[in-house]
């Protein structure tokens, strides 16, 4: 009897410790700022070049994550990339003429979309498209331009 109790106690402690470890791993090591919203609305933006932007990359405004990239597609007729984003429905007062750019977190960090507020009185809503966009800065082409500077001075688009 005594032995059964020891075994049961040991097993219980072991299982609790294991579940505690799982809980610790899933809460303490994963991202706290993981974006989750009950209601979202969808907006799109067209970029000439999205660089290495990936789905689920954050969409941020003033440094705060307000949404996520939902999907990235290539539009064969307009020959550009169409990025669809989910924006938290709480932020329904973003001016319509805001501009979107593909930015990089840190020097070698992952890429995200930054929104810069415009001045319009109309707001972005479900299905709106952001017209003012700026492509990702591709490091290789930047270096290329720097190296051949003076040859052809085309300027960025």
């Amino acid at each position: 009897m005594q032995q059964t109790r020891t075994v049961e106690l040991g097993t219980g402690l072991f299982a609790l410790l294991g579940m505690g470890a799982l809980f610790f791993l899933s809460t303490q090591t994963t991202g706290g700022e993981d974006f989750s919203a009950d209601k979202t609305f969808e907006i799109t933006a067209r970029f000439d070049n999205v660089g290495s932007l990936r789905p689920r990359a954050p969409v941020s405004m003033s440094g705060v994550t307000i949404g996520r990239v939902k999907r990235i597609e290539f539009d064969p007729s307009a020959l550009d990339a169409v990025v669809t984003m989910d924006i938290d429905a709480r932020y329904d007062q973003i001016p319509e003429d805001s501009d979107a750019s593909v930015l990089t977190a840190g020097l070698l960090g992952s890429q995200y979309i930054g929104l810069q507020a415009g001045g319009s009185e109309f707001y972005l809503e479900d299905g709106s498209e952001i017209l003012l966009t700026q492509s990702a800065i591709v490091l290789e082409s930047l270096i290329g331009k720097f190296l051949v500077r003076g040859g052809s001075d085309e300027g960025t688009d």
Binding site: T4, V7, E8, G10, T11, L13, F14, A15, L17, G18, M19, G20, A21, L22, F24, L25, S26, Q28, T29, T30, G31, G32, D34
Partner: protein, 254 residues
Amino acid sequence: MLRDLYYTLFEFVRTFGALQLFFLRLLIHSPTVIWRRFGLVVGQVYNAGALSLVIIIICGVFVGAVLGLQGFSNLSRFNAEDSVGAVAALALVKELGPVITALLFAGRAGTALSSEIGLMKATDQLSAMEMMAVNPIRRVVVPRFLGGVVAMPLLAAIFSMVGLLGAHLVCVSLLGVDVGSFWQQMQQSVEVADINEGIVKSVVFGIAASLLAVWEGYNAIPTAEGVGRATTRTVVLTAIVVLIFDFMITAVAI
């Protein structure tokens, strides 16, 4: 020569098939055992899990500490020693946690399972049970298998957690990495998908390690030498299978 090769290949395929059938038999008996003989499963979780805690915790601390040390000395070349937390966490949660735990589990619990069952067979205890109309698969094998399957993911989680604490100890307390950036960099780079990958791996490894251990024990040649050989084969086979599965799961997950 060719005939030997043919025979070896034939035997391999036959053994492999027998292993699958054995696995199916275990699965078929599992619900009944869980329902009627839950106490036996609890006892085996204690044997395979709680008694392996000491080795898992000690190894975990030192693996984490080494990761922290190596990561620090290499990352400090790029002035990026703040991301040592991210490196250690990703390595532990995705790879080292499940794999090293499975190898330690094979050494600590797998050998115990196979030698116990093998010795039961060698001393005719399994035949005696059959004579008493007790199914040895249900009474002896399935509880041990289930105990291992339950214990392994929990052990892997404990290993990863303890490893992180070891890395924390070395990096933050000894080498002076900032606590905030250690954890913040970790939280930025580890995603829920990484944790899930680790859990999937540890469950698969748990099934593989426990299955191979009870299989080898149950099919051991019932002599002292046979039991010894079965124990050795358990460790060797588990190590090979775990590392192959590790590669396959990682390839699928990426």
